[in-house]
Amino acid sequence: MIFCSFEFLIFFMVILLLTIIIRQNKAKKLILLAGSCYFYAYWDYRFLPLLAGLSIVNYYTGSKIASTQVRAGKKRWLVASIVFDLMILGFFKYFNFFVGSINSLTLSSEIRLPSMDIILPIGISFMTFEVMSYTIDIYRGKNKPAASLLDLSLLVTFFPHLISGPILKPGHFLPQLDREITVRWNNVEKGTQIFLLGMVKKVLVADRLALFVDPVFKAPQDYGSGTVWLAVIAYAIQIYCDFSGYTDMAIGSAKCLGFEFPPNFNMPYISKSITEFWRRWHISLSTWLKDYLYIPLGGNRKGKLRQYMNLMIVMLLGGLWHGASWNFVIWGGLHGLGLMIHKLYSDHLRPRAFNSRPYACVSWLLTMAFVCVAWVFFRSTDFAVSFIIIKKMFLIGGIRGITWYATSLFVIVPVLIISHYLGLKLGDPPYVRYENTWGCFLLFFVLLGLFYLAPLNSSPFIYFQF
């Protein structure tokens, strides 16, 4: 079930109604849990035991970590939980990748490792990271264990963030379950508006750009350099609007039910460095990687060289988290390299006086160009396609080909620039009240616009695959 579907609308109305009608808090939680399981089972019910397994094992180990007094004992339970979570992730997501990689390395050998037909459970990467942070935080003394298995199960399965995040921190979400779950009218007003904004991003921007991006990435050799550049820029916008649109819908639907999710994006394409980009892009993932990988590796505490290495390791693993493919590893590696170079530049080379507007413009342009080039590896199906695109972009070996200046891009880019500018100026977005005619008009206007302007063939959310 996806957010922008009729089924979800019905499903959500039922859940919202039940949450309003039912008075007992525990019953509300049970309804949310049952609803979340239904939401997931709508895709594939066979993976519900996996969700249950993740919840039960981590609840048990979390309780054990909290109750064990000896540090070594706590550590043993932590290691057990992390090994279990990583085994689940590794088996479902990376087994065939590693088998394939080993087989390709030993091409001359007679021995071939067998691969398996494993279905990747959607949202597995998000779920495993959440339960890992749950046990790690208990071990670190940052959090208490969940009050009940029901609470932890809700952290894992709560439908707004179940499939594509944002990655919730237990310390942020579990306290919300301790309070009474209350549906308030002003939350519903704000929530629906955030949801609709996400839907506009997804349906009107991302899906429309997909009609341009997909054919070019499918056969880049047929297109001219200018068109390939435009397609790469369009993909940068598409993935942002697709993913941040999904996040907005998740945040909006959670808000309607009385839950607060942290923001996951903060206008990433205004960044003037790669470091800034990662503070604004997929914030829940970058924060997770910083808290649970970069800092444990030593962060910036063990010297500059080690810091650069840590950045690279974190980004390589972050790339691999996105998908079991060397293309994602390269994408992560490029960002690691970008972070290292920026750190090196900031530490040693950057003249302090360079804060002028032209300097900011050049920084932005370089950052955008770098991010766009890296997206090529993220989007391409394999290296061969990536290299064709890179060669076309940098005018190596023939620039001729079909010229296609997609109209959608020329409409969307100015809209995006204006909305980013307004976002910068306004800070928090303004909300309208449905009590007044102006608010109702805007609601109907957006709903009708989604109907009239949406492309007929909607694309699936890009981040579902992760």
């Binding site: 047929d222 079909i402 010229t403 296609w404 109209t407 959608s408 109702c440 109907f444 206007f445 302007l453």
Partner: protein
């Protein structure tokens, strides 16, 4: 009372939102703002309206016969009149008036021969040879053509026998006949009581909604697969093609076929059309070599637009220029020499 007030406010807001969208759609997005029912031609575009295709960027004015371009005047004595029959590729609502192959052909022939040449674009969206056969008397009496070019493309066989079209071919005993299937809007057929909303269909907002809801619902039911084609029984294609060309030749003795194809090699269906055309002595102007030659040398496709996808959909300005060259060459070599 408060609830009633709120409901009224909601309705007012919805009405204003619809009104704003009506203005937006009418001026920027709208594709086909309805039509009229003609007792002879069936459903045609309203006279005098401007149409904007979903592909390309141009707006086209419709004449009183629901065809693009100016009104058709009586033929003058010196005039040599060429009638172009075809589907949306000939109507070419995606291309501006002065760039269609029909217009370009007129200009080229007039320049090359020095004669008064007039081409009439009778292209019609969704048309097939069944239309041209059924309406041959009308075209002869109303337009009096000296020569007729009939555009046929790769997938024309399905529309010929498609029972949901306004004109289609069916077999009665051993003979084929054309049938006029003047239909009301499909929604009224499915749900007759809904006819009460008929006056609203003139509005773009309602028109698009009524058009798209069934499509989206069908897609939803088929999990994104295109809606299935109804009313297309299994038939002997060779037989239908043979009958179609035989009848066309007898209805329009002075005619040639413009065969539109973007395929690199000849398909089975194309071979059938070619075979039957040879059999009945019909000239067939095939576009394959011209189209593929242009792509090989310029790397630009002859169909598709910036707001759709190059290489897909209708013929673009480049393709129309090539078509005009092909036809001008044909006329100069075989018809007007």
């Amino acid at each position: 009372m408060r609830v009633l007030k709120y409901i009224l406010r909601l309705m007012a807001a919805a009405a204003v939102a619809l009104l704003v969208w009506e203005v937006v759609l009418e001026n920027c997005v709208l594709r086909e703002p309805g039509g009229n029912n003609s007792p002879i031609l069936g459903r045609i575009f309203k006279p005098g309206i401007y149409l904007q295709g979903t592909e390309g960027y141009c707006k086209t004015r419709m004449n009183s016969l629901g065809m693009r371009g100016a009104e058709i005047l009586p033929k003058t004595a010196a005039e040599y009149r060429i009638l172009m029959l075809g589907d949306s590729q000939t109507a070419a609502l995606q291309v501006s008036d002065d760039k269609t192959f029909v217009h370009l052909l007129q200009t080229k022939l007039a320049r090359n021969t020095g004669r008064e040449i007039r081409t009439i674009n009778a292209g019609r969206n969704g048309a097939s040879p069944a239309y041209y056969i059924h309406l041959s008397n009308f075209y002869h009496s109303f337009m009096d053509p000296d020569y007729v070019i009939i555009e046929i493309n790769e997938d024309f066989i399905t529309p010929i026998i498609d029972k949901t079209r306004e004109f289609y071919v069916k077999k009665e005993g051993a003979e084929y006949v054309t049938v006029a299937n003047f239909r009301d809007y499909y929604l009224w057929r499915m749900f007759p009581p809904l006819k009460v909303i008929k006056p609203f269909v003139a509005f773009s907002t309602f028109k698009i909604a009524l058009d798209e809801i069934p499509v989206r619902w069908e897609q939803h039911r088929n999990h994104g697969a295109p809606a299935r084609q109804e009313g297309t029984p299994a038939v002997d294609y060779a037989d239908v093609i043979d009958w179609t060309l035989k009848t066309l030749k007898s209805d329009y003795p002075e005619m040639a076929i413009l065969y539109l194809t973007l395929n690199k090699t000849e398909s089975d269906m194309e071979a059938l059309w070619r075979g039957s055309a040879n059999k009945y002595g019909i000239d067939l102007v095939n576009t394959r070599d011209a189209f593929s030659g242009y792509y090989q040398s310029h790397l630009q496709p002859v169909n598709g637009f910036y707001n759709t996808m190059p290489g897909t959909g209708h013929i673009n300005e480049i393709g129309h220029a090539i078509l005009a060259d092909c036809l001008a060459d044909y006329f100069m070599r075989k018809v007007l020499r």
